[in-house]
């Protein structure tokens, strides 16, 4: 029997009925947990988990993060308002800066919605997950009582980026938390969201995040996610986005930390001319395992996706990338581009990349490519021939390789803001190499 599932069920059983049943969700929560138990964690034969073994994780036990720990505000001094802060899965009202929000922007923790009369919480939480390998989504559906609910009203253009901050901090025992989030942009609304996943110190917690992104016609979302967790952390994340016509979703994911980080990014382009641009960096050093799985679905005509992902594996790290693009029947005029380049920085590191393009429509433009290689000897020589020492030349080329994905954010200020985390992680890779 699974240590992980048993320990989570023990936590669930100890919850007061009033919490479990809030907003009439009790039955759905119990059913999701039962389903997770019935199918267990995905094993090596589950196609979608083939390159990410969960055996070690399945045997670990976790306890509920019952009490919210106190965190020194100085730790977050660099992260401006408006910001929403969660510590070990708990919303921290004191650390959050949510006063004077721009008109049209509404932000609420899920825990508050669950005790209020806002039906949005129910809409999100009531969703079913019918596939046997959706264990973490099912666990999330049964066990999530916290998260960020963000809504932007129609035509509201929100200038200041909303910072969603998820901090892990050491506690007695290994904690598990499950969070459910919703970003909802109404017609022609626009917003920038920056997600931070940080740790104050070494820990071995499990975070399970499920985020829904709903973009109504003409909505524009710029979304950066910086996963800079501790090397002992396990982070399971899933993003399900749905784009209506003319919606534009532009996002960059920096996967810089955690011992095991798995992110499923599913984007459905449901309305005509919906547009998804994505960049990402997978950085696997030490013994870290970083797995990103893209599932882009072109449902409507004239939709576009443009995906640029870069993987770097050093030491005994392993980077896994799956770039799945499906163009449904009738989605004519679709344009889809996927570029996945990978740098292998040591002989013990491993990179698994799998671009998968499925086309059921007639008139489409689609291109995909994946490569795994080392730093270009010609580039290296060119820099050295101009006087740049070898180590510096390597660092420069490695950073340039990774920063190409960051460039997808377009906004120079935002790029400069996020680049230091990337640079610091790359520098520590080189220092240990």
């Amino acid at each position: 029997m699974s240590g992980l599932l048993d320990s989570l069920k023990t936590g669930f059983d100890a919850l007061p009925a009033a919490i479990v049943d809030a907003q009439g969700l009790g039955e759905s929560r119990r059913r999701s947990l039962a389903q997770a138990f019935a199918d267990g964690l995905p094993g090596p034969r589950a196609e979608r988990w083939k390159y990410t073994p969960l055996r070690a994780l399945s045997q670990r036990s976790f306890v509920d993060a019952a009490v919210a720990p106190k965190l020194h505000p100085a730790f977050l001094a660099d992260i401006p308002a408006p910001r929403m802060v969660f510590v070990n899965g708990h919303f921290d009202a004191a650390l959050s800066l949510l006063t004077d929000l721009a008109p049209g922007l509404a932000v609420q923790p899920l825990s508050q919605a669950l005790i209020g009369d806002d039906l949005r919480a129910v809409n999100v939480l009531g969703r079913r997950f019918e596939h046997a390998d959706e264990t973490f989504a099912r666990l999330n559906a049964s066990l999530s009582f916290e998260g960020a609910l963000v809504r932007v009203e129609a035509d509201a253009k929100i200038a200041a980026p909303l910072q969603l901050v998820f901090v892990s901090t050491p506690a007695d025992g290994d904690l598990a938390w499950h969070q459910r989030h919703l970003l909802e942009l109404r017609e022609n609304a626009s917003l920038t969201v920056i997600e931070h996943h940080l740790a104050t110190a070494a820990h071995r917690h499990l975070g399970n995040h499920l985020m829904h992104v709903h973009l109504k016609p003409g909505a524009q979302l710029l979304h950066a996610r910086v996963q800079d967790e501790d090397a002992g952390a396990t982070l399971i994340a899933r993003t399900d986005a749905a784009l209506a016509s003319d919606a534009q979703y532009r996002r960059v994911d920096l996967e810089l930390g955690a011992g095991l980080s798995r992110h499923e990014l599913n984007v459905a382009l449901q309305g005509k001319r919906a547009d998804f641009v994505s960049g990402g960096v997978l950085l696997a050093g030490g013994r870290r395992h970083v797995d990103t799985r893209l599932g882009i679905e072109h449902v409507a005509r004239d939709t576009r996706c443009d995906l640029l992902w870069r993987g770097l594996a050093a030491e005994r790290g392993r980077a896994v990338f799956h770039g799945g693009i499906t163009i449904r029947e009738g989605a004519d005029g679709t344009a889809a581009t996927l570029s996945n380049k990978n740098l292998l920085l040591s002989d013990s590191a491993e990179i698994d990349t799998q671009p998968v393009l499925e086309i059921y429509a007639d008139e489409v433009k689609a291109a995909h490519g994946a490569t795994v290689g080392r730093l270009d000897a010609g580039h290296l020589f060119y820099l050295r021939a101009r006087g740049i020492p070898e180590a510096q030349a390597r660092a420069l080329l490695t950073l340039a390789f990774a920063r190409e994905a960051l460039g997808r954010l377009l906004d120079p200020a935002l790029i400069e803001q996020l680049s230091p985390a990337l640079e610091a992680r790359l520098a520590s890779l080189e220092a240990s190499a």
């Binding site: 270009d376 020589f381 050295r384 021939a385 006087g387 740049i388 070898e390 420069l396 190409e404």
Partner: protein
């Protein structure tokens, strides 16, 4: 300044340079001409320190010290510059950032103070205006999306900025139209000084219409088979390289 003695170089197991000797004095411009496959580019690459060029015999001294034991970056900092025949595009590395890193790395090696960004930009603007280059070039990634001519002009711009003692131009004229060729030659002529030497490697004589060499060498089958004044280049232009075959020792 540069003294090459009996240099034998092997590339991928094959001997390409077979006993090349050459001496360049400060202030001189030497042209190295020769047919395809003579070893012209091998000479440039081995002087700059590219991997895969194995020196099996002979020596190269630069200002009295052994050049061949130095890493490529050390050769650059000592004052050797290679203008590449095929400058590479390096996506993601900003040209300005690259140039400043290069210049400051060289200065640091030589024990000179590094330039801050203001000092550096001032210097860059001076060189740009002298070479009639647009500063748009600075904002792009190294050589990315540059035309063939722009790449070669960028090489000459780097030459002007880094102010080496010895500049090796490896077929810098290849693939250039006449305007670009003139621009490159103007840049080189502006850089000529009693302290600085040039080694101009070329297949054709036409670059030498604009850069007048002091000495012209003919390289064939890995050796210098003929040396002379500027008129030698004109003879080569008139008669081609066919006669050179007769000079190649068995």
């Amino acid at each position: 300044m540069l003294k090459i003695e009996n240099l034998h170089v092997r590339v991928a197991g094959k001997e390409i340079l077979k006993g090349l000797s050459l001496e360049v004095l400060p202030g001189q411009v030497h042209a190295i001409m020769g047919p395809n496959g003579a070893g012209k580019s091998t000479l440039g690459n081995v002087l700059a320190g590219r991997e895969g060029y194995e020196v099996v015999e002979g020596s190269v001294s630069f200002e009295g010290s052994d050049l061949l034991t130095l890493a490529p970056e050390e050769r650059a900092a000592e004052g050797v510059f290679l203008a590449f025949q095929y400058p590479v595009e390096i996506p993601g590395v900003n040209n300005t950032y690259f140039l400043r890193a290069a210049l400051n790395a060289q200065r640091k090696y030589r024990g000179e103070p590094e330039l801050d960004s203001m000092q550096f930009l001032k210097r860059v603007r001076e060189k740009l205006s002298v070479l009639h280059l647009k500063d748009e070039l600075l904002h792009r990634a190294v050589n990315e999306g540059f035309s063939g001519g722009e790449k070669k002009r960028n090489e000459i711009f780097q030459l002007a900025l880094l102010e080496p003692k010895l500049a090796i131009l490896d077929e810098t004229d290849s693939g250039l139209d006449i305007d670009a060729l003139k621009a490159v030659a103007d840049g080189v002529n502006l850089m000529r000084s009693p302290e600085r030497a040039f080694l101009v490697i070329t297949h054709y004589q036409r670059l030498l219409d604009y850069i007048t060499p002091d000495v012209v060498h003919v390289l064939a089958d890995g050796r210098i088979v003929e040396s002379g004044g500027p008129q030698l280049a004109l003879e080569l232009e008139a008669h081609g390289y066919a006669w050179v075959k007769d000079r190649v020792a068995p």
